[in-house]
Subunit: 361 residues, 2 copies
Amino acid sequence: MGELTTDHGVIKTPIFMPVGTLGSVKAVSQNDLIQKVKAQIILGNTYHLYLRPGCDVIEQAGGLHKFINWDLPILTDSGGYQIFSLSDIRKLEEEGAHFKSHIDGSSHLFTPENVVDIQRILGSDIMMILDECPPYPSSYEYAKNSMGLTHRWAKRGRSQFLNTQSRYGHKQFQFGIVQGGTYKDLRIESSKFMADMNFEGIAIGGLSVGEPIPLMYEMTDLNTDYLPKEKARYLMGVGTPANLLEGIARGIDMFDCVMPTRNARNGTIFTRFGKVNLRNAKWKDHHQVLDADFPSELCNSYSMAYIHHLIKHNEIFGLVLASVHNLTFYLWLMDEVRSRIESDTFSTWYPEMVEELERKV
Amino acid sequence: MGELTTDHGVIKTPIFMPVGTLGSVKAVSQNDLIQKVKAQIILGNTYHLYLRPGCDVIEQAGGLHKFINWDLPILTDSGGYQIFSLSDIRKLEEEGAHFKSHIDGSSHLFTPENVVDIQRILGSDIMMILDECPPYPSSYEYAKNSMGLTHRWAKRGRSQFLNTQSRYGHKQFQFGIVQGGTYKDLRIESSKFMADMNFEGIAIGGLSVGEPIPLMYEMTDLNTDYLPKEKARYLMGVGTPANLLEGIARGIDMFDCVMPTRNARNGTIFTRFGKVNLRNAKWKDHHQVLDADFPSELCNSYSMAYIHHLIKHNEIFGLVLASVHNLTFYLWLMDEVRSRIESDTFSTWYPEMVEELERKV
């Protein structure tokens, strides 16, 4: 448990960061993020924002905070992950990653240097280095070479960061990213490499990309063993509520994932009693609230029959209620975790909670 | 100007009623309807609610108010309009209207009596009689016969209303509906017919179905001449902000329309200075708010560049902001109208306002 102090506020860790891909956390207003979800920090995607609305628009606005009217901390990724998961065609060279936009096919190049420049324009409180995220499975050779490239890019990205200034008067941090596929020696080597550089925090990348969950936990465990405890450790793109607890048990401080909002839009919500499929016909005539004591409107203000009706017929209000609920639940869980850590009961509490969370209600 | 007192609250007229087709005003929460939009009454569609979630579910919930957790007044239409505009196949008989669901093709029959029964189950504060809404244009003969049917149905519907009871302990009103196509003598005859029956209010139906706007105004004018001033007069399915002012000038007290929410989702908003197309590229780098003095978040909390970005990329938050704005604007306009009527300046103010409202910004 710790704190990360940015010019836009203090982040209490462990923390989950809602993802605001295009400068909006899908189906959730900025006001609701603050007042209902109690978000401490949100994430923006460099790849998406660079393409839409583009750096020129965000620069004119005075940065992403001003553009979206958000005064709390923002973390931006480097775009590396999206290049490999979204763009149709790409060419990876020592210089950087050539890619074609998944929107209009236009050609672009991300380099370790220009993703720093772009994130200077976005003005996020925490920026990420450009990395290559190898797919699962990858051969040892591929993972090793890829890690080497990520390491060389990390050095170039850090130089660019140190040689450039924040544009809008607030301090920016830069986090490194550990890679190495699912190979123990590579994961250890990459952890040591990133630990030796002077980043303000370190992320674990390349996990939650299709590998078995136990392997994800094993790699996370290994990584955190070699990462400095005094720096924030961020497990990228993870995950379910249970994944978060398991990650925290292995030393992780920060998480981000589209799962809570994406699942909400598909009708799945997370609760203290497990996963709930709102589309299930069993809710059709369930005229009670789901959980009068949980602080979300979905749980305490509307009957499950009404929520089921809204979700089944794709009413936007239903998507909003479910999205706000899931994020509120993730942030509630992090708050609960911090209390348990403080009272030194986390390690006995979390295995039982994981079991509850994995139930299907 | 007047008041309509229901067991769920007093409605100050002239008023606009947001449409909550399936028990949700699209993209707007019940809380926002009360706190931001300042809605006094909302509308539910009998046809839609009867099909989804069905009367059994709403009856178990204890009526529509409880089902959707809404304590202010609700008006439900009779389903007549949707049968003619939505359902694929229909057979109109003296008994009622046979139709097939636009959802699953299942067969149903609405009669003047059972739409009263259904609206008893829904428990709306104001229910409407079953009518036939003839298309525009219709021949004189078609319009005359159709009006005859609507009149006979009105009598049967009123009997059913008087012979049945409210189910949930609150009073319900029943409104008649004037028809007659666009034929003056039929409109006069139908107005007199409905005026002579003892409905708690009277609606003008069959307008805003494709006829020229001046003709709609002419028919409205004619109808209100023959309708009792002490009863609420409701112009169904109308319209633009300018249509509302013109309707009020002709004696209308109540309006409903999907336009503010539907247009919002398509990126068109209504403002004091005219219509604004949020998708227009001119907003791409307009980094100011649209109207700092107007009480909607879309106008006063976010730059037009950000709003344009959200709408262009179909972010749900953009749909919510635009929908809440448009409804807030409609209700603001009604409030403005009531002030102008009170200060006896309406008749000089409204023609200039109509001109402003029709501008394209």
